[in-house]
């Protein structure tokens, strides 16, 4: 008992951030220990929930009897202190330095389809410039154009603008699990994605202003960060739906998401959506930059590498339950999650509870936007036995999300990027949820 007790004590008492849930856990633990039920191994979830609610009559809460905070005590509003666990997190062993690293979106805590700006994952290659003055920032467009131009932010916002909801996913999202299950938690297996409403000017409008020559086939986009990030974009994408955005979820971009200006290439690998955008250059060939040759290419078992895998594949994941959101009780629990496709619109999501043997079609929540996260839901009566939960997305171009076995067969285990395999969550009889892979 000794080690066990110590382990538990440390875990609770030294986690000051988890205050709200901590109290609840302590309460439940003491109740459970008193009842002597928990350590017997067979858990009685329904009983524990009842203990939480208690039988005492409801008291009039203090909040009914005292005045609350003033309307402008927090001029920029913040989440309740009980939501302090809803934060971005990192996997420190992944990278050499936190300036060239990634933080993960807490997908397990999101509802609907919009990612709050402060929770959007951040992938930087040379840190986030925090002090770019929008009055000093410039966008230069040149190369194979008739009229090279320089735009201020005030110039850009005079132009016709549009707003669209798009997901943005890092090419490395899920890459740690290519060979096998490695990350315990949907935040880490799938959290290099966010979905925001972006506002800006269509890139095609700016291309009209500079007069891109017909011989130009590619565009280089460059950032104003310490990596001076550069990626090549084929001109057909630039003319199609690319946006030069200054706003995210109704307010100006957050510094770590590209303030004051970024490229938005709907459905395409997030690395191409260059942040802190300062320059666009048109030319005849792809630039073959470091990030599109030595990185963001998928090494195959035969030694060849897939290059320019721009479009993020059709994909989905269940976010409730998941390792961070275990099953609280036997019986009913709505199963929910996200589906998306860089190719277009999600048309269907199926859910399996037996590891992919049998499937049921889930309901898709309106609105369903192209190249945006789509929320799916399906009812579930859990019998308390081990279950293997999976979700499978289909898009309007006919792509069906592959199984882990299919993706492994196609690419091997060293591809790192653009992994869109079906995720399996094992729900254990005690309610915990593990990331596993099935054959």
């Amino acid at each position: 008992m000794g080690d066990h007790e110590l382990n538990r004590k440390n875990q609770y008492d030294e986690a000051p951030q988890g205050e709200g849930r901590l109290d609840r856990a302590k309460f439940l633990r003491s109740g459970a220990l008193a009842g002597g039920a928990m350590l017997a191994g067979a858990m009685a979830p329904a009983g524990a929930i009842a203990a939480d609610a208690g039988d005492a009559p409801l008291a009039i809460p203090e909040t009914n009897k005292t005045l609350g905070a003033g309307v402008n005590d927090t001029p920029y509003g913040m989440p309740s202190k009980y939501e302090r666990d809803v934060v971005r997190r990192t996997v420190p062993f992944l990278t050499a330095d936190d300036k060239s690293s990634v933080s993960f979106t807490p997908l397990q805590d999101l509802d609907g389809i919009i990612t709050p700006s402060g929770l959007c994952f951040v992938r930087d290659h040379g840190g986030s410039p925090m002090l770019i003055d929008p009055l000093q920032h410039r966008l230069v467009i040149h190369g194979m154009v008739d009229r090279p131009l320089e735009f201020t932010m005030n110039d850009l916002i005079r132009l016709p603008s549009e707003s669209h909801v798009y997901f943005m996913e890092c090419g490395a999202n899920g890459g740690m699990d290519y060979k096998g299950a490695q990350m315990q938690g949907v935040q880490f297996t799938h959290g290099m994605i966010h979905c925001c409403e972006w506002t800006g000017v269509k890139l095609s409008v700016l291309m009209d202003q500079v007069g891109v020559k017909s011989t130009a086939k590619w565009m280089l986009a460059e950032g104003a960060d310490a990596a001076a990030m550069t990626r090549s974009v084929p001109i057909e994408k630039a003319l199609d739906d690319a946006l030069i955005a200054w706003s995210q979820n109704g307010e100006r971009l957050r510094p770590e998401n590209g303030y004051p200006l970024r490229l938005v290439l709907p459905g395409w690998q997030a690395n191409l959506n260059v942040k802190w955008l300062r320059r666009l250059k048109f030319g005849p060939d792809p630039w073959q930059t470091r990030e599109e040759t030595s990185k963001y290419t998928e090494l195959m078992p035969d030694g060849k590498s897939r290059q320019f895998d721009w479009v993020m594949g059709t994909k989905s994941v269940i976010t409730g339950p998941c390792p961070e959101k275990p099953m609280m009780a036997k019986g009913f629990r709505e199963v929910t999650g996200f589906a998306w496709s860089g190719y277009g619109t999600v048309t269907r999501v199926d859910v399996s509870f037996d590891g992919g043997v049998n499937w049921k079609q889930a309901t898709l929540q309106e609105p369903i936007y192209t190249k945006a996260l789509t929320r799916f839901r399906i009812p579930w009566e859990w019998d308390g036995e081990t279950a293997l939960l999976q979700s499978r997305a289909v898009d309007d171009k006919g792509h069906v999300q592959p199984t882990q076995a299919q993706l492994l067969a196609a690419r091997g285990g060293n591809a790192i990027y653009n992994r869109n395999a079906i995720q399996t969550w094992r729900v254990n009889p005690n309610g915990t949820v593990d990331s596993v892979q099935v054959g």
Binding site: D3, H4, N7, Q11, E14, A15, R21, L22, R24, A25, L28, R29, L39, G41, M43, R84, R89, P92, F93, A96, S100, V140, D146, L149, E150, D155, K179, Q184, Q209, V212, L220, A227, A228, L239, K281, W287, Q288, R290, T293, S294, D302, G303, K304, Q307, F308, D309, P326, G356, N358, W359, K360, H399, V400, N428, N430, G431, T432, D434, S435, V436
Partner: protein, 336 residues
């Protein structure tokens, strides 16, 4: 026609066949300031990896590059490009692209030499980008190419020389396309029950709650906390209160091997990947089950009891992993 030329032509074809309407047909708003090449010269630093277009005047030798490298690059990338910590390995790796653990370096992986100039110029040294002169960038480029046996020790590199180099992995890339064929099957889609091929429950690489850079609790506590906690604790102490037989029967070699592979074999291997080690320290290797088994006494003494290993805990072995190793050894270190 070489494969890479074919690939380049195919890329051009993708764009040409798309039949886009070129810009310039839309409305002109007369917004934006016309600029000259001179005005934007300091920003216009891109170099095309394929053609070398944009490479500036200047030159540098391997010898000059050695000095710049030692002063400004080797602290992260190692004296000979072997990499320090988790910073990228620059040299070596030839012939490893089809291996279980490929080393993707400039010599083994990068397809174009001018890309090296472009990247060093814009983004290196990591803490002081755009601080090197063009001659220094050419020199470092020459040094890195020499480390990878692409240019000789006495090479002098300039725009023309860089554009003419054919890198070893030049033909190693193909255009990515959708490459899987799943179908919307609804019943009896796989033989039941399905087989678990990968289970991370005892891998313990997911960041702990208090790990640097993270705050808060990752898992909802609720009423299952006792059981969830028991899973980890039971694996360590084997007192059998946890769910499942795994805990009751003690750690298996399948749980031990990933820990050794992740925390120990960066050095203790016939082929160490850690900077500064060309062979296994003290000749101790953990590449095979038999090699691990042969060293259990040392593992217990240095890793579980005195915690001297891993050195400086550079591979971040967790307490749970040390506990698991100890329990496994106490149970006779079965490799089954």
């Amino acid at each position: 026609m070489s494969k890479s030329v074919k690939y380049a032509a195919a890329l051009a074809g993708i764009v040409a066949l798309a039949g886009f309407a070129i810009a310039d047909a839309g409305q002109q708003y007369n917004i934006g300031k016309p600029v000259t090449e001179a005005h934007i010269a300091s920003w216009d630093i891109d170099v095309n990896g394929l053609t070398g277009a944009g490479l500036p005047p200047g030159q540098g030798s391997v010898a000059q590059g050695t000095k710049v490298w030692e002063a400004k690059c080797s602290s992260c990338h190692g004296e000979f490009g072997e990499g320090a910590g988790k910073f990228p390995v620059i040299a070596g790796g030839t012939g490893t692209l089809t291996a279980e653990r490929p080393d993707k370096t400039v010599g083994s992986y990068w397809p174009y030499a001018p890309t090296l100039f472009d990247y060093i110029k814009r983004a290196m040294p990591f803490p002081a980008p755009q601080s090197l002169s063009n001659d220094e960038v050419y020199a470092v480029t020459a040094y890195v190419l020499n480390l990878n046996d692409v240019v000789p020790k006495d090479a002098m590199v300039d725009a023309k020389a860089l554009a003419a180099i054919k890198m070893p992995n030049r033909d190693g890339f193909i255009k990515a396309e959708w490459d899987t064929k799943n179908v919307v099957c609804m019943s009896k889609c796989a033989p039941a029950p399905v087989k678990i091929t990968s289970d991370l429950v005892n891998l313990h690489v997911t960041p702990e709650e208090k790990e640097v850079g993270n705050v808060g609790s990752t898992v909802d506590r609720g009423n299952i906390e006792e059981s969830a906690d028991t899973t980890a604790a039971a694996a360590t102490t084997a007192h059998g209160t946890g769910p499942g037989a795994k805990a009751a029967s003690g750690p298996t070699f399948e749980q031990v091997q990933p820990i050794m592979a992740q925390r120990c074999t960066v050095c203790h291997s016939g082929k160490p990947t850690q900077a500064g080690f060309s062979s296994a320290p003290m000749g101790v290797k953990f590449d095979t089950p038999a090699e691990i088994k042969a060293q259990v006494a040392q593992i217990k003494a240095l890793t579980v009891t005195s915690r001297q290993m891993p050195l400086g805990n550079m591979t971040h072995m967790t307490d749970k992993e040390r506990g698991l190793l100890g329990t496994w050894i106490a149970a006779g270190a079965p490799i089954k």
